[in-house]
C-alpha cells in the first residue's frame, strides 16, 4: 500500500461516510441522506458547468472562432459562421426576462428541428433496417439443434429469433383489435418479450450486485489505509456512534409506541 497523506485519509474517510449516508436511505429519509443528497447535487451542478466550458464552449465555439486564442477578435475569424450558434446560445438567456422570453423559442425550435432531422434516419436505420436485415437468416437446416437448443447457430435458435421478432411486432399493432388468431400471435409475442425482459432483469441485477460489492471494497480498502492513522478511526467510530444513537432512539420510540398502543 502506498503511503498516503493525512489529507487523503480524511477524504477517503469522508467518502466512506457519504456511502453510509446514502445507504441510510434504506432506513428512511433522514438528515444524513439529505446532507449527502444536497452535497452531490450541488457539487455535480458545479462540476458540469466546468465540464461544459472545457468540453463544449471552449473547443467547439471560442477556439474555432479564435484559432485557439481567447481574444475578442471573432469578427476577423476565418470561420465567422460559428457566431451563429453562439448567438443562438445567447438567445436562450432571454428566458430570464418575462417580456423577452419568446426569443428563446427560436433556438429551441432550431435545436428540435435539427435533432428530429438527425434522429429520423438514424432510428430508421438502427431500429428498422438493421433489424430487418438480421431477421432474414439463412437457416442451417442440417444443424437443427446444434450443440444444444440455445446454440445461436442452430436452426432452432434462428427460427425462434425470426418467429419471436415477428410475433412481438404483432403485439404492437394498435389499430387492430387483438382477437382470434391475431390475439394468439400477439400473446405469444408478449410472452417472448417477457422472457427477454426476465433475462435482462437477472443480468442487470447481477451488475448491480457487483456495484454494491465495489462500494464495500472501497470501504474495505479505506480500512486498510486508515489503521495507520488512529485519528481517522476516531472519526469513523464517531460516525458509528451517531448511527448507534439513532438506532437506540428509534428503538425507544418503537417501544413507547407499542406501550401506548397496549394501554
Amino acid at each position: 500500500m502506498d503511503a498516503f497523506s493525512i489529507g487523503t485519509y480524511l477524504w477517503t474517510t469522508f467518502g466512506a461516510f457519504l456511502t453510509l449516508c446514502i445507504f441510510s436511505f434504506l432506513y428512511r429519509d433522514n438528515p444524513f441522506y439529505k446532507f449527502a443528497e444536497h452535497l452531490v447535487v450541488g457539487v455535480s451542478a458545479g462540476y458540469f458547468v466546468i465540464i461544459l466550458w472545457h468540453n463544449g464552449l471552449q473547443p467547439n465555439l471560442f477556439n474555432r472562432l479564435n484559432d485557439g486564442d481567447f481574444y475578442l477578435l471573432w469578427l476577423n475569424s476565418a470561420r465567422p459562421w460559428y457566431l451563429i450558434p453562439g448567438i443562438l446560445g445567447v438567445m436562450m438567456w432571454t428566458r430570464f426576462s418575462r417580456k423577452k422570453s419568446w426569443i428563446s423559442r427560436y433556438p429551441i425550435a432550431m435545436y428540435m428541428g435539427i435533432a428530429a432531422g438527425i434522429a429520423v434516419p438514424l432510428e430508421m436505420k438502427n431500429r428498422v433496417n438493421v433489424q430487418l436485415y438480421s431477421a432474414m437468416k439463412n437457416v442451417e437446416w442440417n444443424n437443427f439443434f446444434g450443440t444444444g437448443i440455445l446454440d445461436s447457430g442452430s436452426a432452432v435458435a434462428q427460427l425462434i429469433i425470426l418467429i419471436g421478432t415477428l410475433s412481438a411486432l404483432f403485439y404492437f399493432f394498435f389499430s387492430k383489435e387483438h382477437s382470434g388468431l391475431f390475439k394468439g400471435v400477439a400473446r405469444f409475442g408478449i410472452w417472448i418479450l417477457m422472457i427477454g425482459f426476465g433475462a435482462s432483469f437477472g443480468y442487470t441485477v447481477m451488475g448491480r450486485i457487483s456495484l454494491f460489492v465495489q462500494r464495500i471494497q472501497y470501504v474495505g480498502n479505506w480500512t486498510e489505509t486508515s489503521w495507520a492513522h488512529p485519528s481517522v478511526l476516531v472519526i469513523w467510530f464517531l460516525i458509528v456512534g451517531v448511527f448507534a444513537l439513532l438506532l437506540l432512539l428509534e428503538f425507544i420510540k418503537f417501544l413507547t409506541k407499542r406501550r401506548t398502543a397496549a394501554s
Binding site: 439529505k34 473547443p59 485557439g68 436485415y133 437446416w141
Partner: protein, 411 residues
C-alpha cells in the same frame, strides 16, 4: 420493526467494515522468460492498394494488401502488421495502427478536429508503408511505399439508400393517413391499460390533494422518447390545470427543461388557467445521473406525490426511482423505449408502456388527426416489415440472396 432491522444492518456493516481485513493478492509469478530465438526476416506484404474511404465525412483512407508469404505459411513467424503514414514518400513515417497476422485491410481514420493531434487533413497527399512484424522486434520487413492518396468526404452516403426509401415510404403513408384522419375517417385504436390509467391517476391525485410527479428521464430534447414524453406531459399538465392539482417536473437536461416549461405553460393556457402556471413547477436539478436520482428520490419522500409518471429515456436509475416511488405509496405509470430498463418498470410500477406504446400514447391521449394518422402509418409500416422479413427469409432459404442484400445498410 423493518426500519429497526435495516438500521441494525447498517450498524453491523459500519462496525464490521473497519475490522475487515484487506485481501492481498499474491503476485502470480511470471511463467518464466520467453525463449529468445533468432529468426530470419519474413517476406513483406505486397500489392498495397489505397483508396479514400467510401461514404464518410473524409479524414480517412482505406488500405488493403496481400499478406506476407510467411503469414500462416513459409516461415510462419508473422505476428502482425504495422501501418505507417507520411506526408512524403521519403518520410518521416509515423505508426498509425497495428493489426494482427492474417489481416488484409485496415481503415486509417484520423480526427476531423484541427485541434486534435490525430487531425487528418483532407485533400493532401498521404503515403503509406506496412511493416511486417515478428515476435522479435529486431526482425521485421518493410513494404514499398504506396501512395499518394487523398482523403475527402462524400455528400451522399450510397450505403444508406434503403434508409432513404424506407423513410420516403413511411412519410407517404403518414401523409395519406393524416389526410384521411383530417377528412373525418374513423381510425380505430385499441385501448391500452397504461394509457387509460393516466386519467385515473390524475383524478386520484386531485382527490388526495397531492401533486403529480412527472419525470422526463435522462434523454436529451432530441431523443424520440423525450419528444413523445412532451406530448404526454402536455396532456397531463392540461388535466392538472383543469383539476387544480399540483405538478412537479424535475429535469435532468436544461434544454429539456426549457421545452417542458413551454409545454406546461401552453397546456395551462389551453385549460384556461394561465395564471395557475408557476415557473418553478418545471425545474432543473443536475446533469449528473445519480445526483439527479438522489434529488428526485428525496422529492418523492418529502412531497409524497399521489402519482409518479416516468416517460422518456431511462438508464440505470429506472429501478431506483420506481422502487422509491413504490415505497412512498404512489401510483406509478412508466413508459420507455430503453429495452434494458423496461423490466425494472414492469416489476416496480403499476402500469408500464412498453417501447412503441410510449410513442402511441401521445396519439391516444391527444386524439389529434396528425398523431392518429402517424399511428396508423406505423401499423402499416410494421405490416410491411413483417412481410419483407418473411419473403426475405423464404427466398434466402431457397438460395436467393439478392433480396436480402437489397436491405443492407452500411455505416
Amino acid at each position: 420493526m423493518k426500519r429497526q432491522f435495516l438500521l441494525l444492518l447498517l450498524l453491523c456493516f459500519a462496525v464490521a467494515a473497519p475490522l475487515a481485513t484487506a485481501q492481498t493478492a499474491e503476485d502470480s509469478p511470471l511463467s518464466g522468460e520467453a525463449a529468445v530465438a533468432v529468426s530470419p526476416a519474413p517476406g513483406p506484404v505486397s500489392n498495397i492498394q489505397l483508396k479514400d474511404t467510401d461514404n464518410d465525412h473524409g479524414h480517412s483512407v482505406t488500405l488493403s494488401w496481400e499478406i506476407s508469404p510467411d503469414d500462416g505459411a513459409g516461415l510462419n513467424n508473422v505476428i502482425g502488421y504495422e501501418i505507417h503514414r507520411a506526408l512524403s514518400p521519403e518520410g518521416p513515417f509515423v505508426k498509425r495502427a497495428g493489426v494482427p497476422a492474417g489481416s488484409h485491410s485496415h481503415v486509417d481514420v484520423g480526427s476531423k478536429e484541427e485541434s486534435s493531434p490525430d487531425y487528418m487533413k483532407d485533400y493532401i497527399d498521404y503515403y503509406y508503408k506496412i511493416r511486417t512484424i515478428t515476435a522479435d522486434s529486431a526482425v521485421n520487413a518493410e513494404s514499398t511505399v504506396a501512395g499518394p492518396i487523398q482523403s475527402y468526404g462524400q455528400w451522399f452516403n450510397t450505403g444508406r439508400v434503403p434508409v432513404l426509401i424506407f423513410v420516403a415510404c413511411f412519410l407517404a403513408l403518414t401523409l395519406y393517413f393524416i389526410n384521411r384522419a383530417k377528412g373525418g375517417a374513423d381510425l380505430y385504436v385499441r385501448p391500452l391499460a397504461g394509457i387509460g390509467a393516466v386519467d385515473e391517476a390524475i383524478g386520484r391525485a386531485t382527490e388526495m390533494g397531492k401533486p403529480i410527479l412527472y419525470v422526463l428521464g435522462l434523454g436529451t430534447a432530441a431523443d424520440i422518447a423525450t419528444i413523445a414524453s412532451y406530448t404526454i406531459l402536455g396532456r397531463v399538465a392540461k388535466k392538472v390545470a383543469e383539476y387544480q392539482t399540483g405538478l412537479i417536473v424535475p429535469c435532468y437536461d436544461p434544454i429539456v427543461m426549457t421545452v417542458a416549461q413551454e409545454t406546461v405553460k401552453a397546456s395551462y393556457a389551453d385549460a384556461g388557467r394561465p395564471d395557475s402556471y408557476k415557473e418553478d413547477m418545471v425545474y432543473f436539478v443536475t446533469q449528473s445521473q445519480f445526483a439527479y436520482v438522489a434529488a428526485v428520490n428525496g422529492t418523492m419522500l418529502r412531497d409524497l406525490p399521489a402519482t409518479n409518471i416516468y416517460m422518456g429515456k431511462f438508464y440505470a436509475e429506472s429501478l431506483i426511482l420506481a422502487e422509491t416511488g413504490a415505497l412512498a405509496g404512489s401510483i406509478q405509470i412508466a413508459g420507455t423505449d430503453e429495452i434494458a430498463q423496461i423490466p425494472f418498470f414492469v416489476v416496480a410500477c403499476d402500469y408500464t408502456l412498453i417501447g412503441e406504446e410510449l410513442y402511441a400514447a401521445s396519439a391516444y391521449l391527444g386524439r389529434e388527426p396528425l398523431l392518429l394518422g402517424s399511428l396508423k402509418a406505423q401499423d402499416y409500416a410494421k405490416a410491411g416489415v413483417i412481410l419483407i422479413a418473411l419473403v426475405g427469409f423464404i427466398l434466402l432459404n431457397f438460395g436467393v440472396d439478392g433480396f436480402k442484400e437489397f436491405f443492407f445498410v452500411s455505416n
